[in-house]
Amino acid sequence: MKDSDITIKLMNYMFMSMSNTMNQVPFSGQHWMEQLVIGSVQYFIDEYWDDSKLDSKKPVEICRTYLNVMEDVGFLYAKDYRLEESGDSLLMSVKTNKCVYRECCQRTGEKEGLSFKNCIRLGTFQAILRHVLGENNYLTSVDMAADGFCYGKLRPNTQPKEEIVTREGHIIKMAGHRAFLLRQKTYASLMASIRDHAPQILKHVLYDAGYQSGLSLARKARESYPYPKECLQLLLDELTNLGVGKLELVSFSLSCARVKIRCYDSFWADTANEYGHLYRTPQVICDMLRGILAACLSVIFEKEIICEEMVCQSMGADCCEFLALPLPQESSGGRKPHDPRNE
């Protein structure tokens, strides 16, 4: 309604700039973007919000009231937004050209390569919900649909995202757990060292380490995303954000539990190309990622999935490709080494 208002334009420019900047922040860009929105909304709340106007503390009511307050100050029309409850989640829809933040969304959305998209409107809901309900965290997702509407979703989240790196004094934490940063070169020398001392364990170490980390990653994601494909997509996004490489879901069959995934610029393939190969002959080397994916898929499909790297970028392919299938049923664990003393 106040499209021509230069202040709206300026506000969009500011959010665009923030969004662009946060995309360059190595970790947790989306998280910080949310924090920026929440922070600015908080100033508005402090001045215009009155808890006593609330009829109930249901999230949908809180958000509706918030919209009414915004209308009262002449910022928007509350009726442009549809809000409804869906279980624990909140669904919002708005005609895209009615949204005051559309310029920001459309222009950042047009840019390629942005690893996340923020809906400022949902960010403001996150802010008011947190204000009223306390430390309750909501995840947001939005889809600018072809029918001219934006469909947004807010859902409660109990876990911090894996990619959220924070610093408390001299302590760095990832998703609340202590972490430290390692250069690729250091990693390469670590692996070379293992190979020199115990070559036979190298693959096993990498696979098992990957598997264990994949398990905790996947279990957490599974709580927030019960739908297998959605969960996998989230995990792949999160792994991509963590820097393992750009992961892409090629095919997904729920009934066969058969998944094909590609990874562009895998950290491990890149390490081999940069600092030398660990093995005598060119071969697939992303055992750690293989382990991670096997664990993720085993959690998602609730049965043991085995994942093979069929080609690797370190062997000259365009990308690494992983094919995952369930463990055959009849498996009895293989043959036992023969002991001649039993004869």
Partner: protein, 239 residues
Amino acid sequence: MHRAYFGVEGLDRNLEQGLSYGSQIMVEGDSGVGKTVLAGEFIKEGLRCGDTCVYVACDEPPTVMREHLLSFKVGTPAYEETGRLVFIDAYEEDGSTEKYVLSDLRHLEKYFTLESEVLRSCNGPRVRLVVDSLSTLLTNLEITDVIDFHRTRLKQLKKTGILAMDIFVSGVLEPRLITITSHLYNFILKMSFNGSRCNPVRQMQIGKVKSQQFTSSTHAFTVSPIYGILVAADTGVHK
């Protein structure tokens, strides 16, 4: 030029340049010494390197090798589905559910035809072939037929650049036949039990035929359910 290794550290260490595709490996050893485990390592290594692996199961059903590989976390279905791992069932004769079955063990030409057909259908650039064990196929046959078979087959494998591992169970074939046969291979590995009866020690003797000269070294090894074949350091057992 691609070079190949067994995928067994202590063994590969002894092959400076590795093996070339088109060479033939003879593995001879006592029953239970670890020939099939070695075959498993060889296949695992091949799959990692992007090779197509063909395993001819003569002494056990192919599924035994499948499960063996699975126990080492090798997802055989993914490789079988993409044609990178192929089994030939030369064990069941009738009633096998495998795609490739050798229905008649009495005629070497039938085996040869089947093997050639399977190898021809492999579309990868490099192929590994393991016959476990070839000695089973050669029992009860005329020595001249066997030698004709060997010559024709090994020549063909060499020509088509197949990296082949033929396994022979000790004591199954006449020593004379083994001697004649062994001259046809580029690389010979003998595996045996040594030490006392209560404390048997596994040993492998690496023999290479290089410009008519045969060099050899002996190594002790163990078979681990996690790491497969573990070869002791070179300072190990010497005869």
